[in-house]
Amino acid sequence: MSNPDASGILARPLAGGSYLTEGRPGLSGWLATHDHKRIALLYGVGITFFFLLGAVAAALIRLNLLTPAGSLMSAETYNKAFTFHGVVMVWFFLIPSIPATLGNFLLPLMIGARDVAFPRLNLFSWYLYVGGGLFTIGALLLGGVDTGWTFYTPFSTMFSNSHVILAVVGVFVVGFSSILTGLNFIVTVHTMRAPGMFWFRLPLFVWAMYATSLVMVLATPVLAMTLALIALERLFGIGIFDPALGGDPLLFQHFFWFYSHPAVYIMVLPAMGVTSELITCSVRRRIFGYKFMAWSMLAIAIIGFMVWGHHMFVSGQSMYAGIVFSILSFIVAVPSAIKVFNWVATLYKGDIDFRAPMIYALGFVGLFMLGGLTGLFLAATALDVNLTDTYFVVAHFHYIMVGGTVMAYLGGVHFWWPKITGRLYPEGPARFAALLMFFGFNMTFFPQYLLGYLGMPRRYHAYPEPYQWLNVLSSAGASLLAIAYLMPLCYLAWSLRQGRRAEANPWNATGLEWTVPSPPPTTNFALSPVVTEGPYEYRS
């Protein structure tokens, strides 16, 4: 960094422009952009679209389950609906949600860089995401897929009559988007930090992105290759998962969960990072136990690779495999527990301001904790035998992924909205939406814990009558949740034109992203910033 301004790029005057107005005008200025901020918004449009698609599928599922006979849809349609819901929400919403939007927007800003390391690759990742999405939508339009998002063999390879290959190709392609985004972030964090931005001065959001990227890069290839083998097996009618030849369907499950369990951490680690930022700023205090918070995220990312077998306790794997995966699953809960305690401890002696992002963040902590605690039940082999493949599991992972990740994502969107758009969101509706979401969510998914405990299997199009009243309660909650999700869509869109203009740092937050104008100029920083202190020095 001897001469950061050799070519004079840094000295370019700002002239009051922002990344929204500078650069090539029109659609091509967006679709051909290399700017990480514009790419973040492109992703934002994509994941909002897929979230709405997935939500429609969810609504159909909940409507169908109002009656025990499942009279709204045929069994085939129902199976396609939950498969579509799973595939879209997992790969086209949750996995890219925070990393590809907030991560893309904020990572370079937070470490004091002008862009990510490989801007063109970043844009290419978005096109891969769109391409994968087109395949998946194509599969839907041609009649859908009925394998469940888990694509278990031999059902997916030899028995399903639906468009498995198209869906698998869609996920395969979007997997590359995820790999390349992870690669980009890892290299960016390693090589592009501003002078003085040491590893332990990184905001926890950056640590979260880093840990997430490691998981993306190391887990996704396994999924991609496994899905490729599924496609080949389906095409040629022969392969290593085929029991007719002595192949092993459990091998598929091992490969699949080797990715898909770490994928849970791809979804939730970024949410933890967002929550840490939101809480410190609202409390105006240093985060409690910064280093423990950073290390616990890496620990989750690493141990998360060794627990996949807990999805397979009743699959027919050996008793001893069950024992090993069980203890590791308990251990991976420790760093998550540390994080919850640290967030709560951060509140101590704070100066807490309850704006909407803080309400979202507190909601995240509560729901994540409930999801995590019920995860312990599933880590205990003897209990998992009864609970796995029931609604208990469905409730558990929705608490983590929807209660956790979506709450944090929306909290983050509100928090950084002024930075991204230059406008303030309206506080009143935002607070109301956050509270409604919390209640709607619990009303939707808490009954599902009870359903699972009472033995209702998941993926049932019709069910025995005693389960009805809990299903009705859950569906009623889902309608509240739907309203709560539509609200931000409306008032945030409204604020784009009508919202009050935001200054550079409306929340008085620390962090380099708040030192540049809102919205930031294309090159982010006029001069490479020099960092002299830790990330959360709220009281000096």
């Binding site: 069994a75 085939e76 199976n79 278990y152 031999p154 059902f155 030899m158 028995f159 399903s160 029991p243 007719a244 002595g246 369907p249 409690f288 136990g289 423990f292 009743v314 699959s315 027919g316 008793m319 069950g322 024992i323 069980s326 203890i327 308990f330 251990i331 809960a333 527990a337 540390i338 709560v344 509140l347 101590y348 002696k349 704070g350 100066d351 807490i352 507190l362 904790m369 605690l373 019920t374 312990l376 039940f377 205990a380 082999t381 003897a382 209990l383 035998v385 009864n386 493949d389 405990y453 033995g455 299997p457 998941r458 993926r459 049932y460 199009h461 069910y463 025995p464 005693p466 809990l470």
Partner: protein, 310 residues
Amino acid sequence: MTPLRQASSVAPGIDALFDAMLALSAVVAAGVFVAMTVLCIRYRRGSAADRHGAGQHEFGIELAWTLIPFGLFVGLFAWSIGLWRRLQTPPSDAQTVYVVAKQWMWKTQHANGQREINALHVPLGEPIRLLMTSEDVIHSFYVPAFRVKQDVLPGRYTQLWFTATETGRFDLYCAEYCGSDHATMRGEVDVLPPAEYARWLRAHAVQSLASRGSQLFRQLGCSGCHGSQSSVHAPDLSALYGSTVALSDGSHVIADDRYLHDSIMLPAREVVAGYAPIMPSYQGHIDEEDVLALMAFLKSSDGGPSHEQP
């Protein structure tokens, strides 16, 4: 809604662990929620609370809430593992019932040959071991009132055991998604008092599984090579079950259920030492129920085929 019944010998133990974890989780969750609420009220913006001197002894606190959960988790793990081992190890006196799953029904078959569809009659208080396989995709045998569940796979056997402790009818579900009519792949386990169960067995008496196997053994031409008077050089199958078999690649296997199944369906996979791999595969020619019958015959107490008169 009626509370879930507790109708097997393992259910009370599992429920005790569940209740303990529920209590522990409730304490932790309540603690965190109360702490959050109290702190949020006390340190809300504008309150007069003293805010000096935060952030001492951080390391000790962190260590405490790393190690205490860890200790608790190890304890829960140990508790659960005890139950798990019990769930995974059927008692040696358990009576075997065969289960074949297919899209979308459960076919069960008792040792005496009684067959049922989407139903299973079992005696009260006696350990039952289910030996299960699938003809197509993966299914999962789940009886919530017994707290047992086990996936049922094509091409291999899995087992599950329980001792029913309450008479009555209990729901049986398929818990692993298996295609269009997954949700209707349900049945009932009917637990009868032993005397009544014996009556039921008598009322439905048919040819025993082993004797049906013996019939198949001749019909399918097995006896042509494996029969005691056959001129073909094929291994003798008498008293095979449970013995150790030397294979042509120098290894040894125990002749268990899996071995017998694979020797019929994938004969070239493990060839007995000293024999040519000439046996044809029966895959696609016979279904899993026939394999179970053949196996019952090979395992039968009269010693298997060599004692049969050709």
